[in-house]
Symmetry: C2
Amino acid sequence: MAKILGFANQKGGVGKTTSCVNLAASLAAIGKKVLLIDLDPQGNATTGSGIDKSELLGSTNALLLGDNAAAECILPTPGGYDIIPANHELTQSELELLSMEQREFRLAQALASIEDQYDYVLIDCPPTLNMLTVNALVAAQGLIIPVQCEFYALEGLTALLNTVAQIQASANPKLEIFGILRTMFDGRTALTTEVSSQLLANFSNKVFSTVIPRNIRLAEAPSYGLPALLYDAAAAGSRAYQALAEEIIER
Amino acid sequence: MAKILGFANQKGGVGKTTSCVNLAASLAAIGKKVLLIDLDPQGNATTGSGIDKSELLGSTNALLLGDNAAAECILPTPGGYDIIPANHELTQSELELLSMEQREFRLAQALASIEDQYDYVLIDCPPTLNMLTVNALVAAQGLIIPVQCEFYALEGLTALLNTVAQIQASANPKLEIFGILRTMFDGRTALTTEVSSQLLANFSNKVFSTVIPRNIRLAEAPSYGLPALLYDAAAAGSRAYQALAEEIIER
Ligand SMILES: Nc1ncnc2c1ncn2[C@@H]1O[C@H](COP(=O)(O)OP(=O)(O)OP(=O)(O)O)[C@@H](O)[C@H]1O
Ligand SMILES: Nc1ncnc2c1ncn2[C@@H]1O[C@H](COP(=O)(O)OP(=O)(O)OP(=O)(O)O)[C@@H](O)[C@H]1O
Ligand SMILES: [Mg+2]
Ligand SMILES: [Mg+2]
């Protein structure tokens, strides 16, 4: 039975995609079977994994609309994990989902047939609390919340936790906050250390002890279509995601 | 007749809100009458302008649903510009908008009664190409696209420009790309300079010559509810937005 983890935060640019791609590669590198699902019409996890998003036969779009079974949408990636890719057509299916029966369960139902083949299924969400993100929260057992330690990112947590509580009370009672991940961490600035201590004070044991540092190699790797582990394994960013993979397996 | 400028980019965390708030303050500081419209349910432009988003009488939500006239939703701010604030209730109105007649014209129609009182109206958009962003693109004459000079941000430009072309062909033929703004610019990294030269090669005269540097004071100011100009006028970030204001007036 796969562990299904969603990466969500409606605050934009906090490291959702970077975390999803690099954790997938790190878990695969230690022998886990991993499936990454790109649920963002931007398709960043798709290109960041080395897949050409303009030539997709199967995709998350087809999966949600029921055009293809999950197995037909899965592609291997250079990072050693499988992916169900996405592109801008996913914007269309968000609108179509709104008029469907059981619309928030579409992803959960589509994954049922393939989740036993994996140890982990990681879902990258768009920066908005829309029907795509709701589908991820309904399909997932755990939520990883990447947070940049800055003011606006902290401010948005309340709205996200309220949405999670609504999903727990209705469509997915087993959903838990699996962990809060501090990203782009720059311990030299007072802002970062102050926001970080507020996170620890408010969420204590939910905050991963692994902290992802700001590291330019993490931002360079996607232009080569590679996770940082394949682009520069010794980089501080790559090592941090490997440490996160260990911490996640131990939880 | 006000100049109505939207700040849009579905890539998250590229500096849309920071640019909107700091440009509003910079234009106000040189005597322009400015209205900022927060069209993001996150309400970051609202808190970043010093307004408590939990106590809103009038808001963008009420404006779009027709509950209040624009004049009733306008608040003054410490930054010297007016604001129509937003909070998470705006998520609800996005869903309600989808079933309304002329849904993409709601904002344009609501602004008609008050735009003559301002020199500039700046609209902060959420990180997604949804009905809220479409409303901004239909109401605006110009679009400012903040771009962080990194791979994923560059990748998303094509989808945004396609959406703009669709709006120009249908609901708003006068919409133009007013300018592409390079944000969080760190000239020491090869990635930044490489993406920047790609922007200049592809978009040449549309790229503002003013570049916004990465500057921690811009990230600190929102926790005090102030634009950087009031928080630290001498900071590199504040000066860059003042230079941008001059460049915009000259265009
Ligand atoms: N730890 C890091 N150090 C340096 N750069 C990083 C780090 N994490 C992410 N980045 C870069 O910061 C930008 C934002 O990260 P990313 O796109 O992963 O965030 P996101 O939350 O997925 O954004 P969106 O909300 O648009 O989906 C990207 O250009 C990415 O390459
Ligand atoms: N030039 C800059 N230098 C340093 N920090 C910056 C700069 N511009 C913005 N920031 C910080 O980076 C983060 C992202 O910026 P901001 O929230 O303005 O982007 P956005 O595009 O509005 O995000 P969203 O997509 O969530 O609406 C914020 O924490 C902000 O304070
Ligand atoms: Mg992303
Ligand atoms: Mg914003």
